[in-house]
């Protein structure tokens, strides 16, 4: 009797564990809640998103692409303001790098450049205009590196901003 009540008591949690395990397994293989689930779909999607149950886990799976970057030129002699640069902690640089990666799949690159220019003006009130370049790092192959080639940039968009005041 005692054993039975223990099993009954434990059953809901065991069921939850099994369902959670199923979600983990299916999610890893790209299953996502579909329309067949009806009104459960949104609830499952919300739960899985918040608990990160559904994956994916394919970080750095091919193709490994170079990261995006933003380069800022102020007026006067062009200078490289390290918006991702050395005065930043690595964790902040990774997070800002993630912004750029996010924007690669968005069409909001000009918006990002606008924010970058605003930030630049705040840091450098002496400048009136700023040019920003959005692009990619081009990483040389190992043999090219041995021949002296180094990581460089490939432009994809250039914009110029002027301070309004």
């Amino acid at each position: 009797m005692n054993l039975m009540s223990q099993r009954v008591r434990r059953f809901p949690f065991l069921l939850f564990i099994v369902l959670q395990g199923m979600l983990v397994f299916l999610g890893a293989f790209s299953w996502r809640p579909g329309p067949k689930l009806g009104r459960w779909r949104d609830a499952i999607e919300a739960y899985a998103t918040m608990t990160r149950t559904l994956g994916p886990y394919r970080f750095f799976a091919p193709p490994v692409e170079p990261q995006l970057f933003v380069q800022v030129h102020a007026d006067g002699p062009p200078s490289f303001d390290e918006i991702l640069g050395s005065d930043m902690t690595q964790e902040a640089a990774l997070k800002i790098g993630a912004i750029h990666s996010s924007f690669s799949s968005n069409r909001n690159v000009p918006l990002l450049l606008e924010f970058a220019s605003r930030q630049f003006f705040e840091r450098h009130p002496e400048y009136k205009t700023v040019e920003l370049t959005f692009g990619w790092y081009r990483v040389p192959s190992r043999s090219a590196w041995r021949s002296g080639e180094r990581t460089s940039m490939r432009k994809s968009l250039e914009m110029s901003f002027q301070r309004s005041d």
């Binding site: 918040m50 799976a61 091919p62 912004i99 990483v139």
Partner: protein, 320 residues
């Protein structure tokens, strides 16, 4: 306060009433919370100096823009910006307030202060912060959410006797975490193996050469010895695909755990992604390594330590 002078692995009556004792099978949760708390505290302290670039009105992507793009149900700091002025706090600084609270709670998680409620609060705050700086998230934040979710699922402190429902739940959650890790690594390894980049070392080379990954090791040496990148790439595939097959059997588990930990330390060294490395090590040690950590530190039942004014005994962590 209770000191348990138990020199064997058997339970004495004196241990039964103490909720300060960590039973052997529950040590993994303590390690997971300690590891996740430490890794995320390391991340939070790294972000603090540059928080204004990441999560203010003047950030590269202001939180208001990020929050607009999220699903309406996703928790976010913006929900509270109108409430904070009513308690005398500046609504504009809501993110800073929540981030400070999150940082303090991480310390509470590390010292195991009300572990269940602290885990829940950290998990929710981590979600809220993620919801407000969505564009800045990378792999580590996803794995941090996973780790914190297991911290929430697992019981807090467990009062003896060992055959309690709480201990059963602890074991069940650990099995789930183990299953999650098996699926996660195997899936990641298989996905990598489909392309040639990991087989001939290009993936490793491209990862460590990018300027954003400012590793402690000069990549020029990797260019001079091309075989190293090939070996690193193939080793990664072997470790990840072999994870379920070599981590489950107890005979091969220590070797594979050491290999996985080494792989993540390598990511930290070469790519300066220390938070990611620490989070993954915490997940692995929590899931599969608590027995070895206990052995390594030579914890014995008679060892006791002060923790928040009460004597806590770390039980010998052999999960029977």
């Amino acid at each position: 306060m209770m000191f348990v002078g138990n020199h064997s692995n058997t339970w004495s009556p004196a241990t039964e009433a103490s909720d300060a004792v960590v039973p052997a099978a529950h040590l993994w949760v303590r390690l997971l919370r300690l590891g996740m708390g430490s890794a995320l505290l390391f991340q939070a302290l790294g972000v603090w100096p540059d928080l204004k670039y990441i999560a203010t009105w003047n950030a590269l992507v202001p939180t208001s823009v990020t929050e607009m793009l999220n699903s309406r149900w996703f928790p976010r700091v913006g929900w509270f910006t109108h409430l904070l002025p009513q308690v005398g706090l500046d609504g504009q600084k809501a993110f800073v307030f929540f981030f400070a609270l999150y940082t303090m709670l991480l310390i509470a998680l590390i010292v195991n202060f009300y572990p269940k409620i602290t885990s829940l609060l950290v998990f929710v705050l981590h979600l809220m912060i993620a919801g407000s700086i969505n564009f800045t998230l990378y792999g580590v934040d996803r794995f941090a959410s996973i780790g914190l979710f297991y911290c929430v699922l697992a019981p807090g402190r467990i009062a003896l006797p060992e055959r309690s429902d709480a201990l059963w739940r602890s074991r069940a959650v650990r099995r789930l975490l183990q299953f999650h890790l098996l699926v996660l690594y195997w899936n990641a390894g298989i996905a990598k193996s489909f392309g040639p980049q990991w087989w001939h070392g290009d993936a490793v080379w491209m990862a460590v050469t990018q300027p954003i990954f400012r590793g402690a090791i000069d990549v020029a040496s990797l260019a001079a010895l091309p075989g190293v990148a090939v070996v690193a790439g193939i080793s990664t595939l072997v470790i990840e695909i072999g994870y379920p097959f070599f981590m489950l059997p107890k005979t091969t588990r220590p070797v594979w755990l050491a290999a996985v930990v080494s792989m993540h330390l390598g990511i930290g060294l070469f790519m300066d992604m220390w938070t990611f490395a620490f989070v993954m090590i915490a997940l692995n040690v929590g899931g599969f390594g608590s027995e070895y950590v206990a052995e390594l530190l030579s914890w014995r039942p008679q060892m006791a330590q002060w923790r928040l004014g009460r004597r806590t005994q770390m039980e010998r962590a052999v999960d029977k």
